[in-house]
Subunit: 214 residues, 2 copies
């Protein structure tokens, strides 16, 4: 079976899940923590080499304060939770903005935790336009070197993107690394994560041909 | 009903269609011409303001010569066909490369044909890295101005991408304009185009919320 090297995760639907449960929207984010850990373990078990979580974006920070506080806290907690596992961890995002949580600054250079191993990237206060902001017209940009000119240079090309919550869009997720990605959408909301979702996505991915645009 | 302003078209599956019909792969491209015209007419009728066809890419030109010749001819024929309609037509791609067909050079500045009207863009020898090649680190890039720094600056943000041929990936299609696009996949191959495909996509799009990342 062909296992994707790098899986991108768009864990959408926390707010819709909360509303469905009769909670306020902001209460959904905390419910995404355990799914994040379970997903990490499933991916490690099947031999995925790199995993990128879409934490929150610069766009997201325009939401009501009660929500921005809740998803920021959930991201801080998630990164700390992952730092107790065996992983090579990196937080990527615009640290120059006040919306970037200071608690995560120590994670913005890749570092091994535990025995190291799977590369785990967490996008925090990430912006697609921030990411593209260093591309330079004096540099010859091509398929093989463009990633190293991005602000997210330490995140590799993504093979498979899995999005929860039913929406069929990238919403600014790593536009360059996603150029050739296969895109699998799960209708369930992220807090309703099941390991089966990942197995379904992997089985589907195994049947895709990979041409990288050729 | 909410109609997308700008639809992106990925007309995939010509080669698989040809093989299915017992033809050689290169013979599939010509069968994409009539679908392209029919799609144009359907989009015009429902009030779409801009339409972008994914013709061929720099990546595609690495295929066997008999195929590159066939898809290049199909693109030339398609642009000429569209120039006999009422449309504001533009061909976008890397004209500096020998793979760009000279016959299409006159179309690389937007021009009204007939009574003008719908903006119709045709990507020919397009490369995502070529498109990003003029982004300049001295410029402050943001959501509202980034498109004007692209080589495809005269192509607007895409609301809905429809891909034929079952693959769930963008394959380098306008990475910046597609940041927030909704993505609809049709399993039928492009030569089996039916107007119903577009109506199905439009009905689905009408039910999506549009947040532009917010």
């Amino acid at each position: 079976m062909r296992i994707p090297n790098h899986i991108g995760i768009i864990p959408d639907g926390n707010r819709r899940w909360a509303v469905q449960q009769g909670m306020t929207k902001d209460m959904g984010y905390n419910e995404g923590l355990n799914p994040g850990l379970e997903l990490f373990k499933v991916c490690k078990e099947i031999g995925v080499k790199e995993l990128t979580y879409y934490g929150f974006t610069v766009d997201n920070t325009k939401r009501p304060t009660v929500q921005t506080k809740a998803f920021t806290k959930a991201c801080i907690d998630a990164v700390k939770m992952l730092s107790r596992e065996d992983a090579s961890l990196l937080v990527v995002g615009n640290t120059a903005s006040p919306m970037f949580p200071k608690e995560l600054l120590p994670y913005t250079k890749r570092k091994d935790f535990g025995k190291g191993g799977m590369r785990v990237n967490f996008l925090v206060n990430y912006g697609w336009n921030w990411d593209l902001g260093n591309l330079n017209q004096n540099t010859s940009i091509n398929r093989s070197n463009i990633i190293k000119h991005l602000n997210s240079w330490d995140v590799s090309r993504v093979d498979l993107i899995i999005r929860w919550g039913g929406r069929r869009r990238l919403s600014g997720f790593l536009p360059v690394q996603s150029i050739y990605s296969d895109f699998y959408v799960i209708d369930d909301y992220w807090p309703d994560f099941k390991a089966k979702h990942v197995y379904d996505a992997i089985n589907w991915y195994d049947k895709q041909d990979i041409t990288l645009g050729g």
